[in-house]
Symmetry: C2
Subunit: 480 residues, 2 copies
Amino acid sequence: MAKDNKKKVEQITDMEVDFAQWYTDVCRKAELIDYSSIKGMFIYRPYGYAIWENIQAELDRRFKETGHENVYLPMLIPESLLQKEKDHVEGFAPECAWVTYGGSDPLEERYCIRPTSETLFCEHYKNVIHSHRDLPKLYNQWCSVLRWEKTSRPFLRHREFLWQEGHTMHADAEEARAETQQMLNIYADFLENVLAMPVVKGQKTDKEKFNGAEETYTVECMMHDHKALQSGTSHYFGDGFARAFDITFTGKDNTLHYPHQTSWGVSTRMIGGIIMTHGDNNGLVLPPRIAPIQAMVIPVAQHKEGVLEAASALLDRLKAAGIRARMDSSDQSMGWKAAEYEMKGVPLRVEIGPKDMEKNQCVLVRRDSGEKVFISLDELETAVPATLDAIHDGLYQRAKKNLEEHIFEAHSLEEAKALQAQHGGFIKTMWCGELACELKMKEEAGMTSRCIPFAQEHLGDTCPICGRAAKKMIYWGVAY
Amino acid sequence: MAKDNKKKVEQITDMEVDFAQWYTDVCRKAELIDYSSIKGMFIYRPYGYAIWENIQAELDRRFKETGHENVYLPMLIPESLLQKEKDHVEGFAPECAWVTYGGSDPLEERYCIRPTSETLFCEHYKNVIHSHRDLPKLYNQWCSVLRWEKTSRPFLRHREFLWQEGHTMHADAEEARAETQQMLNIYADFLENVLAMPVVKGQKTDKEKFNGAEETYTVECMMHDHKALQSGTSHYFGDGFARAFDITFTGKDNTLHYPHQTSWGVSTRMIGGIIMTHGDNNGLVLPPRIAPIQAMVIPVAQHKEGVLEAASALLDRLKAAGIRARMDSSDQSMGWKAAEYEMKGVPLRVEIGPKDMEKNQCVLVRRDSGEKVFISLDELETAVPATLDAIHDGLYQRAKKNLEEHIFEAHSLEEAKALQAQHGGFIKTMWCGELACELKMKEEAGMTSRCIPFAQEHLGDTCPICGRAAKKMIYWGVAY
């Protein structure tokens, strides 16, 4: 451990003073991330990467249970391949990193490092889809992608970031649309029941949808500072790419059809979401179901006879009960250890000392509330999982309260603007469906459309921006 | 399934006729791999990638049990960073793919896509290593790397391939050297006990060692065609990179020291090794401990009453017993199914039909030997794992026999050349340790040095190439 760890807490900016600085401080002091010599390209340190590994394991299991298979496609896309779908290339070409030399030889055609892999999947699908018996194809890829962004922030905006991208092909539109909903629901369930992040589910406007998609669905979360984080998206492409890439299959009717396509993805920005949903001025707060260390055992007065043995026995019992537990028996002070594991967001400290041993008990210290509870050692295997569940529930309820208390209804552009300026959060209004009104909201109130939520409400008959007939209720917000 | 699957077996070239074509046929027909539009960049299809996922899971567990942590570093290396260690850049620069544009802007400095990540790890280690308390650092990374090779072959030589690269830093040389041995032993154990591939362990010559390393250790395997496959390497760097990157730490003696470094890696070429060690003229043969599907349940006369139910019950019991089992109840013929799962190398087919049901039995058909065994359903949970273990042992013994029968002793260059031409395999000779003799062996007999095996023998006192005093026994061979 570095010598300056003791001062970690002092070094964190309060989130009320400077939220952006607080966020960066947590990313650094909790040892999640480091900077590299290339702007916008970050190093995922062991503790940060371990969170991603847990996210991967949980999602991968859900993907496989729903019939998806993992594949790996090349990281380079020939420029001519990227250009096959017009909307897609227009969206991505400006932020591509281009490879122009292989060794000392200039390439005949330049290749971009994948910003996303629709075109590569289509090229492969053309080789392997011929008959209705070859459908559906339900593929997923875990990889990194590159987007040459001008600005960057740890986890939220990297030039290179880790993600998964699902790409599926179906015999008809109905099945493909059902797939987009299924995957959106998997994301929502994962965010709520594993990351303790409540979501708003909805559809993106045409302006905000994915380049080349017909429809984009999203799960939107609200951060501590009442800004929005788009946390997962699911896209329906119709047969647009299939036509552009000439992918056809012989149907049961013995004639040729184009398959219908989806893609869906989440990325390491979810880790940014965890930090900004649950963190506090003492550092990171990790939801127990994703925490690399769920319980840190700390022997008290460990030089006294039998303490280390008792703590080790406790550690072994926790591990045997399926808890991700560790022990810190280093010579650091109790104060240092408390600050260290608070900074790292470990959900539970489990302390045991000579007095506890006499009473056949240990102390559980909750990271979320600071609450200390004495429990009998006889109850260890039930009390610890139950406390971890209680922490999860508490984090979820607190985040849900933050979300619900920061959704405001507006009936004019001025009112929307004032509400955003005063409270932040999501501003819900009716909307005519026109791009012009979306652009005006952005220009006047600084808000983008977050989604047209599935849970629609009737707030009035007209669009508060243009006064014409309203078609839908929409959520606006300031987003990361 | 494609219509032409029935003809798969007919479409495979016999390995005795054309080994290279047999190999490519298996990669394609077992649906492990597909070609992309960029030469040398391949698509890992679901079945091929599932083998890699199993390799990852097995190795990752072993890495973590020995205290290693996973990280993820950027895929791009600034040219100036790559140039910091002279031997390293000389080795890798000729095969780097270079990024020169970010979006529409030319970059001030060009970046290469990582061919390996020593330089990136060193840059990061400089940030996080300050005190002896920060050591050891035991990091590993799962990722893909790019090497712009002129030729390519599925799994064996890709321009982009998947691998893991461990990078560790230690307080002294002794600990670092112990790490290289520990990791080599983990690779050897994994190859032998999971992939059923016997290995020869040894040290590379200076000519064959990794660019920038002081010592390289290797595990070498022998393929069906008696060529060698370097299957895993472990490198000791001393403090060369640490000096080049100015990485120092304050020791317990309160003075500055350079840490000692290792790296070690295996890649998806292991899958090529599996194919060429165990495959036959009916296709792939997968070692049971790595097979994505260990047992394929096939109902016989499945239209008859109760057969599908009995097969399903059997499947459930196998899954509950921890076997990776699937069922094929499609309307394909029994002949098609037999050929299909032979091609895919599934270790065991488990067949059950009306007659078996009467007798409370099922049939186990072994992929390795074709042997059919009737077992009582009462013994299912013990007989299937035991048969899978027997298949593993049989594959290992067969491969070990192939290895042992193809190690030949030579006492002159002419003899070495003749033995290689006649039998292939490893030719063992004494060696003076000089590069000149190594180059002469390559030129005259077409063989490279495979390794100086740890298990040394005294075959004589002189180097058979130059006649001077011999220092070591060495293995020569033709390698992939």
